[in-house]
């Protein structure tokens, strides 16, 4: 495996998630994009051939025919190809409520120190500055999968002390038992947050930085967090994507460049270090 010479930061994030996919586990993936691509990448690269995924429209364990058409990651014949079962949204919800979903993976707009997720408004509910489209499937995924994985950009306005609006539940106010008191299943909750720069877990229901990308420092990351995460005793350094990983990702999955064309790229230098470079620069 050869470390890639150039890649987008978001590609790095998807590859990180793909490497962490647990073999033999069930994933409820939200919508299309990163969450779905991470699971498919783990399969195509042989990292987790026996992990399976369920989509919001009730497709169980498909052999998806890649690439998807635009807007075709759910409710399409390619997305549902050769599944074990075709159900509906309530099928997916029931199976999650029964505990069949080991992991849920979500993209998110804004997250806070306790893993709560906002996809509704920026600002107060009555006096918002931006109105987003609501929690969609994320609310149920975050409520009922055993472990919830978030993917988002590393930006100060995305990592806040308290999200403007809890659209989907994390550890709520962070106290022990808060989720159970709100009627959610026992033993569930946020598990990891992946960004292009960092990976977090939770300690006592509070966000904790555990890994950084080689081209940023811990201070760089903390600078882009309004909520200051706990720090693991040792902060690991993530492996950049390899040519093999990016090859599959770009040719079979993100063929329209949804994660490639936006944000910042990273270029490997002759001395083995990595340099960030804005797109178009």
């Amino acid at each position: 495996m050869t470390a890639a010479a150039a890649f987008s930061e978001r590609e790095h994030m998807v590859v990180k998630v793909a490497r962490d996919i647990e073999d033999g586990a069930n994933y409820w993936v939200a919508g299309g994009g990163g969450p779905l691509y991470a699971v498919l990448l783990a399969d195509r690269l042989g990292y987790a051939k026996e992990a399976q995924y369920i989509t919001e429209d009730g497709v169980i364990a498909p052999e998806a025919e890649l690439p998807f058409q635009a807007m075709g990651s759910m409710m399409s014949s390619r997305a549902g190809y050769r599944a074990a079962h075709w159900g509906t949204m309530n099928t997916a919800g029931d199976h999650a409520q029964l505990g069949y979903m080991d992991y849920g993976i979500l993209n998110t707009l804004q997250v806070d120190q306790h893993g709560n997720i906002n996809s509704t408004v920026l600002g107060s509910y009555e006096e918002w500055t931006r109105r987003y489209g609501g929690p969609g499937g994320a609310q149920t995924i975050a409520a009922q999968c055993w472990r919830t994985i978030l993917m988002t950009d590393q930006q100060k306005r995305k990592f806040v002390n308290r999200v403007d609006f809890i659209s989907s539940p994390g550890f709520l106010d962070g106290t022990e038992g808060a989720r159970e008191r709100a009627g959610l299943p026992a033993g569930t909750g946020p598990w990891r947050v992946y960004t292009p720069w960092a990976t977090y877990d939770y300690e006592e229901r509070k966000l904790r930085l555990i890994e950084r990308s080689p081209w940023v420092t811990v201070d760089d990351i903390l600078e882009e967090c309004e909520c200051k995460p706990l720090l693991a005793p040792e902060i690991g350094v993530s492996e950049p994507p390899t040519d093999e990983e990016l090859g599959v990702y770009r040719t079979e999955l993100d063929v329209r460049g949804q994660t490639m064309d936006r944000g910042t790229w990273v270029i490997k230098q002759d001395d083995g270090t990595y340099q960030r470079q804005e797109m178009g620069a």
Partner: protein, 323 residues
């Protein structure tokens, strides 16, 4: 069974006995033809002020031709069940049809933001599954449905949900008010004249929406004989006696995909996004809705035979989409 917390928002009133009375009085139990064109179906069965649900969305097996007819007829003051919908909420809001949305998920747009800001649109907060659960409750003739989700969110406060103490486990559990929409629009692969309908592949809550609603309009790619439908009753998704109108609508999901029959129109998507990113949808709506008299005219004048044939050709997977 104590109520621990409850949302403070209005919700579409739940009244199982009222719904039963409607069913008894209005639902035709005879096997009679309900075939009609989209104009008649929407004119008769979608009323201003209705609570409306449709299954899937404008990109995927949605009742797109019926939604365009609703806009064409200038229906207004509709309360929309906004589950799993990308652009349809924005289109209907832009066309002046909608005054309230139960939000599950919709694609953010300026037209929606503007309507909320100027007070012409009210949002109620839910999520995709909480809305399909509310429809399930309605489809079962129950006033509420329980869920081990939704509690703890800020949306809860802006919804009709209640957190109660479960009298069996004594743990807190969420109850959601059931939904019996006034009208459901559902696009099917096949239907017969009586309203028996077949939908292949996955769905959001097509059976629940049909069973829950007071009035049900089915559009179908193909009208098949009742005899044919009876050869495989297990493949029939929706029984005739819940259906009020059957509309033949080939390419009825256009520009979306109809799995197993035709592909979505990739060229249409940027056109729609460009419109949604602008201040007004008037140009888009004029071209695709108001300047054509019917779905067939739209297909003929705006899409054309070659494109339609191409969309059929692009849908190479058919396994599982036939009875």
């Amino acid at each position: 069974m104590q109520v621990l917390e409850q949302g403070s928002a209005d919700y579409f009133a739940v009244d199982p006995d009222g719904h039963r009375a409607w069913v008894r009085e209005h639902k035709e139990r005879r096997q009679v033809s309900k075939l009609m064109d989209e104009h008649e179906a929407v004119a008769r069965f979608v009323a201003d002020g209705d609570y409306m649900v449709y299954d899937c969305n404008y990109y995927s097996r949605g009742p797109s031709s019926l939604l365009r007819e609703v806009m064409r007829q200038g229906k207004h003051d509709i309360w929309l069940c906004g589950k799993f919908t990308y652009v349809a909420v924005s289109l209907l809001v832009g066309a002046g049809v909608v005054s309230a949305v139960d939000v599950g998920f919709f694609g953010r747009s300026k037209v929606v933001e503007d309507a909320v800001r100027d007070g012409s649109l009210t949002m109620y907060e839910y999520s995709n599954v909480t809305l399909t659960l509310r429809l399930r409750g309605g489809a079962q003739g129950l006033p509420f449905v329980a869920a081990r989700s939704w509690g703890g969110t800020d949306g809860f406060e802006y919804s009709g949900a209640k957190l109660v103490q479960d009298p069996f486990t004594e743990k807190p559990i969420t109850l959601l008010p059931s939904l019996n929409p006034d009208v459901a629009l559902i696009h099917a692969h096949q239907a017969d004249e009586f309203g028996n309908a077949r939908i292949f592949g996955t769905g959001i809550a097509h059976q629940e929406a049909a069973m829950a609603s007071k009035k049900v309009i089915i559009s179908a790619e193909e009208i098949v004989s009742a005899e044919e439908m009876k050869r495989n009753p297990g493949a029939n998704s929706i029984p005739y006696y819940v259906v009020d109108a059957v509309v033949e609508a080939p390419f009825g999901a256009y520009p979306g995909i109809m799995a197993g029959i035709y592909s979505s129109d990739a060229a249409h998507i940027p056109e729609l996004y460009t419109a949604l990113a602008s201040d007004s949808l008037d140009g888009y709506l004029d071209k695709w809705v108001h300047s054509v008299g019917s779905h067939e005219e739209m297909l003929a004048e705006r899409v054309g035979v070659q494109r339609l044939l191409q969309l059929r050709r692009e849908e190479i997977i058919t396994e599982g989409y036939r009875a």
